[in-house]
Symmetry: C2
Subunit: 411 residues, 2 copies
C-alpha cells in the first residue's frame, strides 16, 4: 500500500490531477504539487479549495522545484514523504523525474513520452529511446513506473487490452481521437502548442504487416462513424501508444487517427510550410536567435484559457479487430467526455480532463496495490478492469460497441 | 546642374538603382553606395561590374554607414561630394537621411514614406506626419527633395498628373498594382516582408467625397480588365500616393488597389489572425522578448533570392476619370514590366526593377535641372513628360489606353 502523492507540473492537466486527487484523498493521502513557478501551483490549490474538492481534511501543499534537477526532485520526494509521483510536467522532464523516483523508491506515473527539446519524432519504438532503457533498473529496485497513463496514451492502451482479452487473435488496433468541441477562438491548441505541433511536424510512424511504416501528416484521412459525435474526419498521426502497442502486439496493425477540421489543417499547413513550426532557431535581421515554434506558442491562446467557453464533446476510442472461435469480430471501446461538465467540476476543458483523470485512477490502483507492479509497465501490460472500474466512478466511463450493441464495458 | 550620386541602402531596389546609375553615369557622374553592411554594397558593385553596366569609366565605390545617424550621412555626403542622394534604405531611415541632405544641400530622392518602427498606418495624410514638416525648411534652404519617386508611389503619381493635365476637371484616380508573375515558392513577399506586411495590417485609408474614409484590408475587392495581364482581382489597400494625391487633388476620389491571389490572402489572414504580423513584442515562455513580424521575416525567402526564377509580368497603372469639354472621359495610363527581362538586365526581379528605375530617372532630371525644384515636391507636382521620356529610354515605357485605343503616351 502506497500513499501520499506528489504532482509535478502546474498546467491544465495538473489542475485536473490536483482536483481528482483531492476528491480521492481518503485513498491517496497527502497531496503535494510542485513546478518551476510556485504561484501556478498555489493558483491550482486555490481552485481546489474553492470547489471544496477535498474529500476529507488533509495535507494540500505547493512547492517550487526545477523538474530537470533530479536531486531536487528526489529531495522533495523525501521531504514530502510522497510514495507516488504523478508527473504531468512538460514532456522534456520525464527522465529526470523518473530517475528521482528510482533513487527514492517512489512509484512513478506519467501521461506522455519523454522528449528531447532539440529532436522531433525520433526512431520507433519511441519508448526504447528513453524510458525502456530504465526498465531493468526499475525491476531490480522494485520501483513501479507506469508509462503513458493519460487518456491517449493510457486509457486507449487499456481499451486495446480489454478488447484483445476477448479474442483468440488480434488483427488490428485503430485508435481514434475526436474533439468535437468548440472553443470559439480563431485558432488554439488544446494543450501546450509546442508539444501539440511537435506531434505533427515530423514523420507519422505506424505499424502494419509487422513492420514500421511512415507517412506524412494529413496524407491519410478517413471519415469515422462514432457514437454521440457522429461522422468525423480523422487523419493518421504519430502517437506514443502506437509504439508500445506495436511492441506488445506485433501481430496486429496499430494506427492512430486524430480528428482535424479543415480550418486547423489550413492554419497548420501555412505555419508548417513557412517554417514557423520549426524547433530549430532562426536569426532575425537584428541578430536575435529565436525558435519560431516558441513564438507561435507565445501568440496563441493559453490552452487553460479556453475552458470557460468550451462546449461540446470528445469521443476517444479503439476499434479493435480480431478472431474469436474462428469468426472475425470487432469491438469499439470508447469514452465520451463533455467540455462544459469538465469545467464545472474541475475548472478545466475536456482535453485536460481526459488527460488528467486517468493518472489519478492509476495512482489509486498503485495505492491499493492492484497496479503496484514493482517494475516499469505500459498500461496495456496491466489489468484494465480495475482501471475501468475507477474511471467509471471518477468521471470517464468506458463503453463498448460490438455485435451486442452499445453498452457499458461491464454490462 | 547637380552631379555625383550617393545611394543609401543595399537591398533588391538598391541593386537596380546602382545598375541604372552605372548605365547613365555620363549624366550622373560618380556613383557611391552605402549601407549598414559594407559587404552587401560590395556585392552590388560586383554585380554592376559583372554586367559591364558602367556607360563610361568613372568612380564606383562602396561605403559603410548607419543611415539613422544624420551626422554620419552628412559627413559621407561631404566626403564623396555627392550632390544627389537616392535613399532606397529601409523606410525607417528617411528623416535621418533627409536631414543630412538639408544640412549639406544635396538633393534628396526617396521611394517610400517614412515609418516609425513602433507604429503602423498613422493618421492621414501620412506625409504630413514626417516629410511635409520639413517642406518650409527645404524651400528656405533651396534644397530639392523629391518624395516617393519609385513606381508606386512615384510613376503612378506622374500617371495621374499626366491624365489630369488633359482634363478640365478630375473626378477619380484609381491606382491598380498587379503582379502577375510567379516566383515558384510556397510563399514570399516581393520586398522586405516587414514593410510589405506593415502595409496591410492596419487601416486602409482612402479619399472619397472630399474626406478620408477607412476600410479593412481585403474588405473591398474587384476584378480589373488590364492590358497584357488580363483580368485580375485587386483589393483596396493603403498606399503612400493616396495621401499626396488626395491633398493635391482634393476634388477627386483617390483609391489604391493591390492584386492578391487567394493563396496570398489565406497565408496573410492566418498570420494576421494569429498575431504573427504584430510589430509589438511578445514574450516566449522562456522570457525572450521578440517581435513576431521579425520572426516571420526571418523564415520567409529573401526577396532578392526570388529573382533568378521569377517569370511573368507586372502591370501598374492609373484609371483616371474626369471631364473634358463637358464630356466624361477616362484614361488608363500604365506600364507593363517583365520579371525575366529585369533579371537578365540587372540581376533583380520585376518588383525591385519597377521600384528602382524611377528614382534614377528622377536623379537624371535633377542632374539636368528639369526637376531640380529647390524645394520639397511629391511627384505629381512635377512635369511628368521629361520623366516619361527618360523612363521610356531606361526600361519602363508608359502607355495610355483611352478613347483613341492603346498607344504610347506621346504617340
Amino acid at each position: 500500500m502506497k500513499r501520499d502523492v506528489l504532482i509535478i507540473g502546474a498546467g491544465g492537466v495538473a489542475q485536473v490531477v490536483a482536483h481528482k486527487c483531492a476528491q480521492n484523498n481518503d485513498v491517496l493521502g497527502d497531496i503535494h504539487i510542485a513546478s518551476r513557478t510556485l504561484s501556478k501551483c498555489e493558483a491550482i490549490l486555490e481552485s481546489v479549495r474553492e470547489k471544496g474538492a477535498m474529500k476529507q481534511e488533509g495535507v494540500l501543499a505547493a512547492h517550487q522545484v526545477n523538474a530537470m534537477d533530479t536531486k531536487a526532485v528526489a529531495d522533495l520526494i523525501r521531504d514530502t514523504g510522497a510514495q507516488i509521483v504523478i508527473n504531468v510536467g512538460s514532456a522534456f522532464v520525464n527522465m529526470y523525474v523518473l530517475d528521482a523516483c528510482i533513487e527514492t523508491g517512489a512509484a512513478y506515473i506519467d501521461t506522455a513520452i519523454h522528449e528531447d527539446p532539440a529532436k522531433i519524432c525520433e526512431t520507433p519504438p519511441w519508448y526504447a529511446n528513453y524510458e525502456w532503457k530504465k526498465r531493468d533498473l526499475c525491476a531490480e529496485k522494485g520501483v513501479t513506473a507506469i508509462l503513458g497513463a493519460g487518456f491517449d496514451p493510457g486509457v486507449v492502451n487499456a481499451f486495446a487490452r480489454f478488447a484483445i482479452d476477448q479474442m483468440d487473435e488480434v488483427k488490428s488496433i485503430d485508435i481514434v481521437d475526436i474533439n468535437a468541441g468548440s472553443h470559439g477562438k480563431y485558432f488554439a491548441t488544446n494543450f501546450d502548442p509546442e508539444i501539440n505541433f511537435r506531434e505533427f511536424t515530423g514523420t507519422v510512424y505506424y505499424w502494419e504487416d509487422q513492420q514500421w511504416k511512415e507517412k506524412k501528416m494529413f496524407e491519410s484521412g478517413r471519415d469515422w462513424e462514432l457514437p454521440v459525435v457522429g461522422t468525423q474526419r480523422a487523419y493518421q498521426s504519430g502517437h506514443d501508444e502506437v509504439h508500445s502497442l506495436a511492441t506488445n502486439y506485433p501481430q496486429a496493425d496499430v494506427r492512430f487517427w486524430m480528428g482535424f477540421g479543415d480550418h486547423y489543417i489550413n492554419v497548420f499547413t501555412v505555419l508548417q510550410n513557412l517554417g514557423l513550426l520549426s524547433e530549430q532557431p532562426v536569426k532575425t535581421a537584428e541578430g536575435l536567435e529565436v525558435v519560431p515554434l516558441k513564438v507561435v506558442k507565445a501568440v496563441l491562446p493559453d490552452p487553460a484559457s479556453l475552458a470557460p467557453n468550451y462546449t461540446g464533446k470528445t469521443c476517444i476510442g479503439d476499434l479493435v479487430k480480431g478472431v474469436k472461435d474462428g469468426e472475425e469480430i470487432e469491438l469499439f471501446v470508447y469514452n465520451v467526455a463533455d467540455h462544459k461538465e469538465a469545467y464545472e467540476e474541475v475548472g478545466s476543458q475536456g482535453i485536460s480532463y481526459t488527460a488528467g483523470v486517468p493518472p489519478v485512477a492509476a495512482a489509486m490502483l498503485v495505492a491499493s496495490g492492484d497496479w503496484d507492479a514493482k517494475t516499469m509497465k505500459n498500461v496495456e501490460e496491466l489489468d484494465p478492469k480495475p482501471f475501468f472500474t475507477i474511471l467509471d466512478q471518477i468521471g470517464l466511463p468506458t463503453r463498448v460497441k460490438d455485435a451486442r450493441g452499445d453498452h457499458p464495458w461491464n454490462a
